[in-house]
Symmetry: C2
Subunit: 336 residues, 2 copies
């Protein structure tokens, strides 16, 4: 079971106090909900998500087109671009996607990155995952801005189940400015595995980047994938058979991207179905194969992906990564 790294004892230091939008207060925050990709069909989940955020004491502002629908999209391309720009102009503490789906990749050229970059410099946190990876990569490529890999409204706060404790604690940490890192315990290497988890790893001042593998692979060769060297690259995906995961990793490998990183961190790969044809080929086979191709350490088990228990991660920020035995930690707080 992955676990969120317990926050440091913040009574000991107050280095964040000088950040206007990142203080230690636990007061109500302004959260802006918008739909940059797929149309919201489950209105009940949407309402449930908004109510849960309000119950946490936050002011929730819903974008005018958050529930719009055009074909499978939350409005046509111009409407979704406008929604993103409204989110940036909202002055909110945090802009949260309603959901992912598909829709950001094709509107990347129409987004005003300077406008988003300014909002981020002023303290706004953009949070999301899955399709949202496209916007995160484009922002990082265009102006180096940090965004947050984290929940979406519908699947996380709008879940019919109870909201995941760890995700909610990380989300609260982000809003209160307390989040400084995420730790997890890597799965034990299966006895049958051809590869071993790497020895202890310690990486400093590396750019954390990544997100959804299919979206990342789909940006290779385009101007929207940042040229990160010496980074920590994290990847997750859903509904992708391991052979497709491998084909996408092969693209990142052959494009020279994996070999340039200091570490590859695999999150959750879920909801695929093996078939009799696979005859022993599985996700671990892909990990084994990847480890045979590069010297870069390949870590597993990051609690991030299309699963309820997801940590929040600063995409584009400088982080340190430490691995001792099966215990891994990505840390972006100040070093004391």
């Amino acid at each position: 079971m992955p676990s969120s790294q317990p926050p440091h004892d913040h009574a000991e230091h107050d280095h964040d106090h000088d950040h206007a939008a990142c203080g230690h207060d636990h007061g109500p925050k302004h959260i802006y909900i918008y739909s940059p990709a797929g149309a919201v069909r489950d209105k009940a989940a949407f309402r449930r998500g908004v109510k849960r955020l309000q119950a946490l004491g936050h002011e929730v502002e819903v974008d005018a087109d958050a529930l719009s629908s055009h074909q499978r999209f939350a409005g046509d391309d111009a409407a979704r671009v406008a929604a993103i720009h409204r989110a940036a102009a909202s002055g909110a503490d945090l802009a949260l996607i309603s959901r992912g789906g598909y829709g950001l990749t094709r509107i990347l050229p129409a987004i005003d990155y300077a406008r988003l970059g300014k909002a981020i410099a002023d303290g706004m946190k953009f949070v999301g995952f899955s399709d949202f990876t496209a916007l995160q990569m484009a922002l990082l490529a265009k102006n180096g801005a940090t965004t947050w890999a984290g929940p979406g409204l519908l699947g996380d706060f709008g879940s019919p189940e109870v909201v995941d404790d760890i995700m909610e604690a990380c989300f609260d940490d982000l809003l209160s400015g307390h989040g400084e890192g995420s730790g997890w315990r890597m799965p034990a290497t299966p006895r049958s595995a051809a590869s071993q988890a790497p020895d202890d790893v310690y990486v400093q001042k590396a750019t954390l980047w990544g997100g959804n593998l299919a979206v990342m692979a789909g940006l290779v060769g385009t101007p929207w994938l940042p040229a990160v060297k010496g980074g920590v690259l994290f990847l997750e995906d859903v509904n992708e058979h391991p052979y497709r995961v491998e084909r996408m990793l092969t693209q990142l490998l052959m494009a020279g991207i994996l070999g340039r990183q200091k570490a590859i961190v695999l999150g959750q790969f879920t909801d695929f179905r093996l078939t009799p044809h696979d005859k022993g080929f599985k996700l671990q086979s892909v990990v084994d194969w990847l480890r045979s191709q590069i010297d870069v350490p390949v870590l597993t088990g990051l609690p991030f992906g299309h699963v309820p228990t997801k940590v929040l991660l600063p995409v584009g920020a400088k982080v340190s990564l430490s691995v001792e035995g099966r215990d891994a930690l990505i840390y972006w707080g100040h070093v004391h």
Copy 2:
């Protein structure tokens, strides 16, 4: 219904007589069957395919590892690379894949392209599709060799149904050296479509390239995708929802590949399932969108893909392309 272009009347000219491996004789040919990708599970289809080729009068040689199995692959990586090299060394007139699946992409760096290029220069035709696209692109990138987009043994000659007439006629044309072009009738543009098929098109001396879209997109940014400019790019895929087709086309678009071509020719996109969430988003939406993004003509209906009726196409060859009304022709024969 697509139709194969009737071969020219070859009694009128004999320009092919000086090609050693491409003469006008209809004698028996030597066909080499090998498995560079997925394992063959349907042995009955394999035997049926071999028998049908033999019944056409050909000598069929089966590679030693054609029926090997390692996980989902037809042997481990080294075995499949060796099989490809044996095919090249076989002296056969034509090397035919048993099937596609997945497996070529990850072994591309281990293949001896000079050896394959020499076999091709000596007259051997490499034929296949789907996953085989990876090898075709790598060969074109490494030494400009021409290979053939065409059938595989299992799904085509090994089909439990009758073998498709048009495919078989094109295959026979290739073996006898009579094939000079493929024509087809483009589908009428649906009344609801936002885009029109292009006006008449006439392109000369353009490199024909392409194949499976997922494989092509997966090679973007790697050394294995040839940098073809001013080409005719054809694409097909199976089991890919239109939003995924669009995301892959977007990658080719944003990487600058589509805009550099003289024409994009869409083949068959089959076996996907639309969902209620799509609300009108469909394959035609993707075609409309693509046409709105580039000035390059986008043709449809090429009889090639994961369907029985597939023409054979010389990947890497110089072709002309003409479109008059709904009638399209890709021609690679000599111009008289």
